[in-house]
C-alpha cells in the first residue's frame, strides 16, 4: 500500500501501480485502492482514475489514428479504436515521442482475429508506417566531405571515380506486398478522385516510399530489379556485392533508372 511516498522506492511503487490501474484495471496489480487516492463524496477513487484512463487511452489511440488514417477509414473510427485498445496494453510506449508510437501495429493486426478477413490490412498498416517514417526523416544534406550531389561526379578524377559510393535518399523506405496496397492506400486518400474499387486480383507490388526535396510524399511502384538494388543499398551492401546479385537487366541501366526517379540522390567518396 503506497500511502507514504518518502523514498524513491515508494514513488516507483506508486507510479507502477498507477500505470497498472490505467492499463490493467481488472488485474490484481491494477487495484486503485493500492494508490492511496483521496476519496470524496463527489467521486470515488475509481472514478478519479477513470478520468486519467480515458485521457491517456484517448491520447494514445488518437496518435495511432493520426499515423494510420487509411486503416481508420477501412475499419471505421469506432472499430479501429476498439481494435487498438488491446495494442495499447500489449505494446507499451517506450519513448516520450508520441509520434513514434505504434510501430508494431501491423504485427498486432496480423494476430487480431476479427480483422482476419481483411487479409491485406497488415500490409496497409506497414505502408502507412513507412509513409510516416519517410515524412519525418532527416533531409539529405550535401557537403564536400560527406554526401555530394550527382552533378559533382564530373568533377572527380579517375582515381576518385573508382571510390565512388552512390547514396540513396535518407527518407527511402521499401515494402513488398502480395496485395495491391498502394492502390488501396491511393483510393483512400482524402483528395483522391477516380475509380475507388480495388480488385485484389491485381496482385502485389514492390514499393518505394520517399519524400522529395520539396517535401512531396511519393509511393512508387518499382520493378523487381529496382527494388533489389534499393533494398541492397539500404542493407549497406557494397556495389561489388550488389553486382553479383541476379538482376534481370543491366545493373548500369537499373542505377540510371533509380537516379532518374530521384531515389539515388548523391554519392560519397569511399576513403
Amino acid at each position: 500500500m503506497a500511502n507514504k511516498v518518502n523514498s524513491i522506492e515508494e514513488l516507483k511503487l506508486q507510479q507502477d501501480e498507477f500505470y497498472q490501474a490505467i492499463f490493467f484495471p481488472h488485474a490484481d496489480s491494477g487495484n486503485v485502492h493500492n494508490l492511496g487516492v483521496v476519496e470524496t463524496e463527489i467521486m470515488t477513487q475509481s472514478q478519479r482514475i477513470d478520468i486519467y484512463r480515458n485521457s491517456i487511452l484517448g491520447g494514445m489511440s488518437g496518435a495511432l489514428t493520426n499515423i494510420y488514417p487509411v486503416c481508420v477509414k477501412l475499419l471505421g473510427e469506432t472499430y479501429f479504436t476498439r481494435m487498438v485498445a488491446g495494442y495499447l496494453r500489449e505494446y507499451p510506449s517506450h519513448s516520450p515521442d508520441l509520434g513514434g508510437y505504434g510501430h508494431y501495429l501491423s504485427e498486432y493486426i496480423e494476430g487480431f482475429e476479427p480483422a482476419k478477413e481483411m487479409e491485406y490490412l497488415p500490409d496497409v498498416a506497414k505502408l502507412e508506417l513507412l509513409w510516416h517514417k519517410a515524412f519525418n526523416a532527416a533531409e539529405d544534406v550535401f557537403s564536400n566531405e560527406g554526401l555530394r550531389a550527382l552533378s559533382d561526379l564530373e568533377l572527380l578524377s579517375s582515381e576518385e571515380h573508382v571510390k565512388v559510393e552512390l547514396c540513396l535518399r535518407t527518407s527511402i523506405q521499401v515494402l513488398t506486398s502480395n496485395y495491391p496496397v498502394h492502390r488501396i492506400w491511393e483510393v483512400n486518400q482524402p483528395d483522391y478522385v477516380g475509380e475507388d474499387v480495388v480488385d485484389l486480383a491485381e496482385g502485389g507490388a514492390k514499393l518505394v516510399v520517399w519524400r522529395t526535396d520539396d517535401f512531396t510524399m511519393r509511393v512508387d511502384v518499382v520493378s523487381d530489379d529496382e527494388f533489389r538494388l534499393v533494398e541492397s543499398m539500404i542493407k549497406g551492401m557494397t556495389f561489388d556485392d550488389i553486382a553479383q546479385l541476379p538482376f534481370q537487366t543491366e545493373l548500369s541501366g537499373i542505377v540510371q533508372n533509380c537516379i532518374n526517379r530521384g531515389l539515388i540522390v548523391g554519392f560519397r567518396i569511399d576513403r
Partner: protein, 278 residues
Amino acid sequence: MSEGGYKYHAIKGVGLGLRSSHYYEILETKPNVPWFELLSDNYMSEGGLPLHKVDKIREQYPVTLHGVGMSLASADPLNLDYLNRLKRLADRLEPAYVSDHVAWVSASGNYTHDLLPFPYTEFTQQHVSDRISQAQDILGRKLLVENPSSYLEFQATEMTEWEFISGLCKKTDCNLLVDINNIYVSAVNHGFDPYEYLEALPQDRVKEIHLAGYEKMEGYLFDTHGSPVHPPVWKLYQAALRRFGSVPTLLEWDTDIPDFTTLRVEASKAEKLLSGVA
C-alpha cells in the same frame, strides 16, 4: 545562450500556440502575433515538413518551447536522449523559454503521454528539484515549470501545490509558467481557493502565463484546451496580472482547433487586459 541567426528573441504580449493547421496562413499572411509557442515534442523528428515550416516561422517570430515529455516527477531516471534532443531543438530555434510540467509521464520506462499527479511531500519536492537542476544543466538554461491540472489528490500529500511549486523555485532557481486555467480547474476539483494559490507564488519567478478552456463534466472540470477561456478564468487572470505584472501570456487551444481568426479574437481579449497593466 547563442543568439546566432535570429532577429527576434524576447517575448511580450499575447502569443499563440503554433498548430500545423495554421502554418500556411501564418507564412502567407504574416499576422501581427507577437510570438508563438511550439509543442517541443512535435518537433523532435530528424527532419521533414513540420520542422521546415517551423524554421521559416522562426525567422519572423520569437518562439518558446513547451513540452510534456520531461517527466520531472517520475521515479524513472531522466531520459537523457530526450533532453539531448530537446537541447538540439532549443539550440536550433533559440526560444525565449523552454518549459515543462510538474508531473510524471512514464513509469518503469513505459510512457503514458499524459501529465500525471503524485503526492506533494518533502521527498518528492527534493526529487523533482534534483531533476529540474539536472535538466537545467543539460539544457544550459533555466527551465520554466508549469503547474498541472489534476483530478485526484493523494493521502500521502504533506503540502499544498503552491507550497510545493514555490519550493522548487527556491531549490533550483527555476522560473514559473503559471497556467491560470489549470489553477482554476484544480481549485474546483479539489476545493481550494485559486486566489490563495496565486498570492502564494513567488512574484519574481513568473515569466509566462497560460490561458485555455476547460469542459464541465459530471462532478469535475476537465482541462481540454478545446474551447474559449471561461469567465472565472478571465477573472483569475486579471488577479494574476495585478500580482505579477504584464507577464507574456499564451492562449492555448489544442483540441477542436478553430480557424486562425477565431484564435486571434480570443487572444485579443487577453491583449486588452494585459495592455491595461502598468
